[in-house]
C-alpha cells in the first residue's frame, strides 16, 4: 500500500469524523434517544457545514472575502425548488431530487461564474462589498418576482400575481412574490445531506492538493508573484469562485427540500446569513476545511440548544463570539497561551513519555 502523506491522512480523518458523526446520530435516532427537536436540526446543521466548506474555499483557499454566499444558497434553493414543484406529480422522488440537485448546483455555478467575471476584477474589501451587493440583489429580486406556469408556458411578473395572466383552469403559481414557493416536496434527509457533505469535502480536499489548488493558493499568498510565474490568475480565481458558489448552491438545494415554504427572507438569504457563514469559517480556522465543518455544526446547534434561556441566547452567543475571537487571534493572547499553556502541555507530554 502506498504510504499516505500527512495531508492525505488529515483529509481521511475529516471524512472519517463526518461518517462517525453520522453513525452516532443514526444510533441515537434508532434507539430513540434523540429528541425530535434535535432531530430537526440535523439536516440544517449539515447544509450549513456544506455551505461553510464552500465559503472556506473562497475565503481561506482563494483568499477573497465573500459576503454573498447566502445569495448563492438562495439561487440553489429557488432553482431546484422550481423544478421540484413543476415536476412534483410527473416524476418519482429519487430521479426528481437528483435532477433538482443537478439543476440547482448547475444554476448556481453558472451564476457564480457570471458574477465572478466582474467581481473578481476587484480586490479586498471592494470585492467583499460587491459580493454583498449581489447577494442582496438576488434576494431582493426573488422577493419581488411572481412566476407561474400553465399550458401556454411560463409566465413572469414583477408586479403581482394577477398580472401574470395565468390561465385560470390550468395555471399554477410557482413563485408567489414575497410569499415564496410553497409545496416543495421534502426530498432531502439526513443521509442525503451527509453524502453531499462528504462529496463536497472530497472535491475541496482534492482541489486543494492538486496542481490547480496550489496555483489558487499561490494567488492568495502573492498575486503578483503568482502572475509572474505564469499562472493564469483570472482562470484560477474563476475556478475557485465558481466551485465555491456551486457548493453553496448544493447547500441551498438541501435547504429548500427540507422546508415546506421557501421564502427569500433576510434571515435565511440576506447579508446576515452570509455573515453567519463567514463566522463559521473564521472561527473554524481560515483555510481549515475540517475546522469549518466542526465550527458550523457547533455554532449552529449552540444557539438552538440555548433556546431554554430564550431571551439571553443571542446575547450569550455574541459574547462567546467576541471572547473567542479575542482569545484566538489577539497577539497578546497568543503569546500568553504560548508562554503559559504550552508549558503545561509540554510537561504533560514529557511525563506521559516517561
Amino acid at each position: 500500500m502506498k504510504k499516505l502523506t500527512k495531508q492525505q491522512k488529515s483529509n481521511l480523518i475529516t471524512l472519517a469524523m463526518v461518517v462517525c458523526f453520522y453513525l452516532i446520530c443514526e444510533i441515537f435516532i434508532r434507539t430513540g434517544l434523540m429528541s425530535s427537536h434535535l432531530k430537526g436540526l440535523l439536516v440544517p446543521l449539515t447544509y450549513y457545514a456544506i455551505a461553510a466548506v464552500g465559503l472556506n474555499l473562497c475565503v481561506g483557499i482563494l483568499g477573497e472575502l465573500s459576503l454573498g454566499h447566502a445569495g448563492f444558497m438562495c439561487i440553489g434553493a429557488f432553482s431546484s425548488s422550481i423544478f421540484s414543484v413543476m415536476t412534483r406529480d410527473a416524476l418519482p422522488t429519487v430521479p426528481r431530487f437528483i435532477l433538482a440537485f443537478i439543476i440547482g448546483v448547475a444554476m448556481t455555478a453558472l451564476l457564480g461564474f457570471l458574477i465572478g467575471i466582474p467581481v473578481l476584477r476587484l480586490n479586498g474589501d471592494y470585492l467583499a462589498i460587491v459580493t454583498l451587493a449581489f447577494g442582496e440583489i438576488i434576494k431582493n429580486i426573488l422577493n419581488a418576482v411572481y412566476m407561474g406556469v400553465d399550458d401556454k408556458g411560463l409566465h413572469l411578473s414583477l408586479k403581482d400575481a394577477a398580472s401574470m395572466g395565468l390561465d385560470a383552469s390550468t395555471g399554477k403559481k410557482i413563485i408567489n412574490g414575497a410569499m415564496g414557493i410553497t409545496g416543495t416536496p421534502s426530498d432531502s434527509n439526513f443521509t442525503i445531506a451527509i453524502i453531499i457533505l462528504l462529496v463536497s469535502l472530497i472535491i475541496v480536499q482534492n482541489l486543494v492538493q492538486s496542481r490547480d489548488g496550489r496555483a489558487i493558493m499561490s494567488i492568495r499568498d502573492n498575486r503578483i508573484a503568482a502572475e509572474s510565474t505564469g499562472i493564469n490568475v483570472t482562470k484560477y480565481k474563476m475556478l475557485a469562485f465558481t466551485i465555491s458558489a456551486a457548493i453553496a448552491g448544493a447547500a441551498g438545494v438541501l435547504f429548500s427540500h427540507n422546508i415546506s415554504t421557501l421564502t427569500a427572507q433576510g434571515i435565511y438569504f440576506g447579508y446576515n446569513a452570509s455573515i453567519m457563514l463567514l463566522v463559521y469559517v473564521v472561527l473554524g480556522g481560515i483555510g481549515n476545511i475540517r475546522g469549518s465543518v466542526i465550527a458550523a455544526m457547533i455554532l449552529y446547534v449552540l444557539p438552538e440548544l440555548l433556546r431554554g434561556m430564550d431571551k439571553y441566547r443571542m446575547l450569550i452567543y455574541s459574547i462567546v463570539l467576541i471572547v473567542m475571537m479575542l482569545f484566538n487571534w489577539s497577539p497578546k493572547a497568543i503569546e500568553f497561551r504560548q508562554n503559559h499553556l504550552s508549558k503545561f502541555s509540554k510537561r504533560f507530554r514529557k511525563e506521559a513519555a516517561r
Binding site: 476587484l122 462589498i129 460587491v130 440583489i137 429580486i141 422577493n143 481560515i286 463570539l321 475571537m325 489577539s330
Partner: protein
C-alpha cells in the same frame, strides 16, 4: 414639481446616509477595518434619545446631547476592548468578525432592555417647513434640517482634518501608521479619536433618521448601516467628500427608484448602481488609485 419634491426627499435621506458613511469612511481610512457595528451605534443613539425625550420628558436638545456623549463613550470603549487587541492580528478578518459580534451584542442588549416591539419616535423637529412656488413645492422641516446638518458636518470635518493638528495626525496615520508613529504621532490616541468622532456622528444620524422614519426597533440600524457603507464605497472609501457624494447619490437613487421604478426593487437598484460604479471605477468615485508594487 413632484419630481423636485422627490429629489429633495432623496437629498434628505442621502444626507443621513452621508453622515453615517462619514463615520464608516473615517474609521476605515484610519483603522483599515469594516466596523460592522457602526449601524448599531445609530440604533443605540436613537434609543437613548427615545428614553430621554419620550420617557423622561426632557427637551430633544438634551436628548441629542446625551446621546452624542454616550455614543462617543460607547465607541471608545468598543474600540479599546474589542478592536484594539486585534489590531495586529494575523488576519484582518479577525477584527471584522469581532465587529459582527459587537453588532449582535448591541442588538441583543437593546432587545433585552426595550423589547422587540416598535417604538413610536416622536419628531424632534417642530418646524413645519417651507412652501415654495405658491404652495406647489412643500419642503418639510426635517428634510431641510437633515440637509443643513449634513452640510455643516461636512464643512466641520473638512476644517478639522485640514486645519487642526489632530486632523493632520489622522491623515498621517491613514497614510502610514509606522511612519506616523516615528514622527511622534500617538497612533492609538488618533485611532480612538476617530472612533469617537464616528460614533458621535452615528448618534446625530440616529436622531435624524428616527425623525424621518419614526419607528424604532433593535434592528433599525442594520440596513442603513449597510447602505451607508455602500455609500462610502461608492464615493471612494477613506475619502470624506467621497462619503458625502456617495451618500447623497445613494439617497436620491433610492427615493427616485422607489417612486418611478419599483418600491420592492429599490434596494436591488441601489446595489446595482454600486456594482456598475465599481466596475467602471474600481476604487469609487473619489477614491485614489493605488498602484500595487512588488
Amino acid at each position: 414639481m413632484s419630481f423636485l419634491n422627490y429629489l429633495i426627499n432623496g437629498l434628505s435621506l442621502g444626507s443621513i446616509y452621508a453622515i453615517i458613511a462619514l463615520g464608516y469612511t473615517m474609521v476605515y481610512g484610519i483603522a483599515k477595518m469594516l466596523n460592522f457595528a457602526h449601524g448599531d451605534f445609530i440604533m443605540v443613539g436613537s434609543y437613548i434619545i427615545f428614553t430621554i425625550v419620550s420617557t423622561l420628558g426632557l427637551p430633544p436638545g438634551v436628548g441629542l446631547l446625551v446621546a452624542i456623549i454616550l455614543c462617543t463613550l460607547l465607541g471608545i470603549t468598543t474600540e479599546k476592548v474589542a478592536y484594539k487587541p486585534l489590531r495586529h492580528a494575523g488576519s484582518p478578518l479577525a477584527v471584522l468578525i469581532t465587529a459582527i459580534g459587537v453588532s449582535y451584542l448591541l442588538e441583543n442588549v437593546a432587545l433585552l432592555i426595550f423589547g422587540a416591539d416598535t417604538k413610536a419616535f416622536s419628531s424632534m423637529i417642530s418646524w413645519s417647513g417651507v412652501s415654495l412656488a405658491g404652495g406647489r413645492l412643500k419642503i418639510q422641516g426635517f428634510t431641510l434640517v437633515s440637509i443643513i446638518v449634513g452640510i455643516l458636518i461636512l464643512i466641520f470635518l473638512q476644517l478639522f482634518i485640514n486645519k487642526t493638528k489632530s486632523g493632520q495626525a489622522m491623515l498621517a496615520v491613514a497614510e502610514d501608521k509606522g511612519a506616523a508613529s516615528l514622527m511622534g504621532i500617538n497612533v492609538n490616541k488618533t485611532i480612538t479619536l476617530t472612533f469617537a468622532i464616528g460614533s458621535a456622528l452615528a448618534a446625530v444620524a440616529g436622531a435624524l433618521m428616527c425623525t424621518a422614519y419614526p419607528s424604532l426597533t433593535p434592528y433599525t440600524g442594520a440596513m442603513p448601516g449597510i447602505k451607508a457603507f455602500v455609500a462610502a464605497v461608492l464615493g471612494g472609501i477613506g475619502s470624506i467628500p467621497g462619503a458625502m457624494i456617495g451618500g447623497l447619490v445613494l439617497g436620491v437613487i433610492e427615493i427616485l427608484g422607489k417612486t418611478y421604478i419599483s418600491s420592492q426593487l429599490s434596494d436591488a437598484i441601489v446595489f446595482g448602481i454600486l456594482i456598475i460604479v465599481l466596475l467602471v471605477k474600481p476604487t469609487g468615485i473619489l477614491g485614489k488609485k493605488i498602484q500595487e508594487k512588488v
